[in-house]
């Protein structure tokens, strides 16, 4: 009986948490009209997020591209078809790897710091102070962070796509004897579309990262605003923000790919 009660309590807590995340998302969307008053703060947030995540994202993207090219190239060489290595690396980076890597790194660096900042504000009564001044914490604290990551995540993704393809080109030349000219020509052909300027893969990847940016910021802010019980509570909020963000990035990544390639054609 006690076990059932504990399971029930845990489940209820999770559902409460999920409900609060959805509620926070809706309230943030409703506050979008007040964004012009928060432009400076939003740009500060976007700049900080970019600066904090850029170096790690670039290093990880370069190695991810290199690994991707290496793994794929080994198999392609068996079939004597390394000419398409640039195409495969470019499309994989743009569709999946770029958004995924950027999302996970933003969750670990920026999402965690959002949870820590807002959690500390919550446990030290700063959020309550905003409320008693009739300043809506969603409008003042959450909206700029969400918009900042919704902008920065696609920008960082575009950069990590490029750096990943570059990492792949180095491996292609050094380890697989694919000339840079052939690799880049193959990649450029894959990333050119006569109808839409860029191929669908690039747009889907950028859309994914836009959604990831919103999800990471909302989860970070929601975890922070739920924090209670001092430093321990803030630590748990950070842990929850990163864990939930990574899970959601994977799930949303699957859903978006499925939607664009299987449902919407």
């Amino acid at each position: 009986m006690r076990v059932l009660t504990r399971i029930g309590g845990g489940l209820r807590e999770r559902l409460d948490g999920a409900g609060q995340v959805v509620d926070l998302l809706l309230r943030t969307l409703a506050a979008l009209g007040r964004l012009p008053r928060r432009v400076r703060f939003t740009l500060d947030m976007a700049y900080n997020a970019g600066v904090r995540a850029l170096p790690v994202t670039m290093v990880v993207a370069a190695f991810a591209g290199a690994i991707l090219a290496l793994q794929t190239g080994i198999e392609l060489r068996r079939f004597g078809d390394t000419a398409v290595l640039g195409t495969i690396t470019a499309l994989s980076m743009c569709r999946e790897m770029g958004p995924f890597i950027t999302g996970v790194i933003l969750a670990a660096t920026v999402g965690s710091s959002m949870a820590a900042e807002l959690g500390t504000m919550k446990v030290s009564d700063e959020v309550a102070a905003l409320e008693v001044m009739s300043v809506d914490p969603v409008d003042y604290l959450v909206l700029p962070r969400v918009v900042a990551l919704a902008i920065m995540c696609p920008l960082l993704t575009a950069l990590s796509d490029l750096v990943g393809i570059l990492g792949g080109s180095i491996v292609a030349e050094q380890n697989l004897d694919v000339s840079p000219t052939l690799y880049w020509q193959s990649a450029r052909e894959a990333l050119t579309s006569s109808a839409m300027l860029l191929p669908k893969e690039v747009y889907v990847g950028l859309f994914k990262s836009f959604v990831f940016g919103i999800a990471i910021a909302i989860l970070g802010c929601a975890s922070g605003l739920r924090a209670s019980g001092g430093a321990l509570g803030v630590g748990l909020a950070v842990q929850a923000a990163v864990r939930n963000s990574v899970i959601l990035i994977i799930v949303l990544g699957f859903i978006i790919t499925w939607f664009f390639y299987f449902l919407a054609g």
């Binding site: 102070a129 008693v132 009739s134």
Partner: protein, 242 residues
Amino acid sequence: MIELRGVHKQLGDRQILAGLDLAVPKGMNYVLMGPSGSGKSVTLRHIIGILRPDAGTVLVDGQNVAAMDRTQLMALRKRMGYLFQNGALINWLSVVENVSLPLREHSRLSRHEVHDRAMAVLKTVGLEQAADQFPPSISGGMKLRAGLARALVTQPEYVLYDEPNAGLDPIISRQIHELIVEVRDRLGVTGLIVTHSRACATHCGDRIGILDQGRIGIEGTVAEMTAQDHPLAKAFLGGGAD
């Protein structure tokens, strides 16, 4: 006037307030004392509408706070100031930006007017020299005074003080007490002060109420309370109490 009638509040398994009745007339400083965890801060949070009672009513100038929607609550809060235990300043804003915040958010004043008004209030609390400093670099007493300036900048009718001298040395505490009295006398602000401090209660208060088991155990003027033989009054206001 602030009135609480039969307010009950349970948090988790604990019954914090159990039929609390309290009346704070206009222009008066009412001091609310009681043991730690007796519901003093919870009482303040009901009055400002952060918490809602399980039963009973909380009235400010005859309006039921618990029944207010978001817009009405915002209007009420603009008429109230709240001084948190540690000042609760926003860390990334300077002292003057913290004090300006409610004006920047809610008034139509120009940037210069907001700054001038914030500086005037900072001068009142003796903090104009620290206007450009940030909260992590100022002392606890300065944070409290900045918090008080922020509570006063909108010229509220009521100020709720939550442990205004917690953790402060006697000299800074006395400065804060004098400020609270000045706010009442010069600005005509009604105050509800939550404190453990005998010095704060006797210096700042007009009436004192002591919470006991979720309701007022004993209440009276400062003179009546200090002369009381009641064990609660002795414990909080007797010779050995601080």
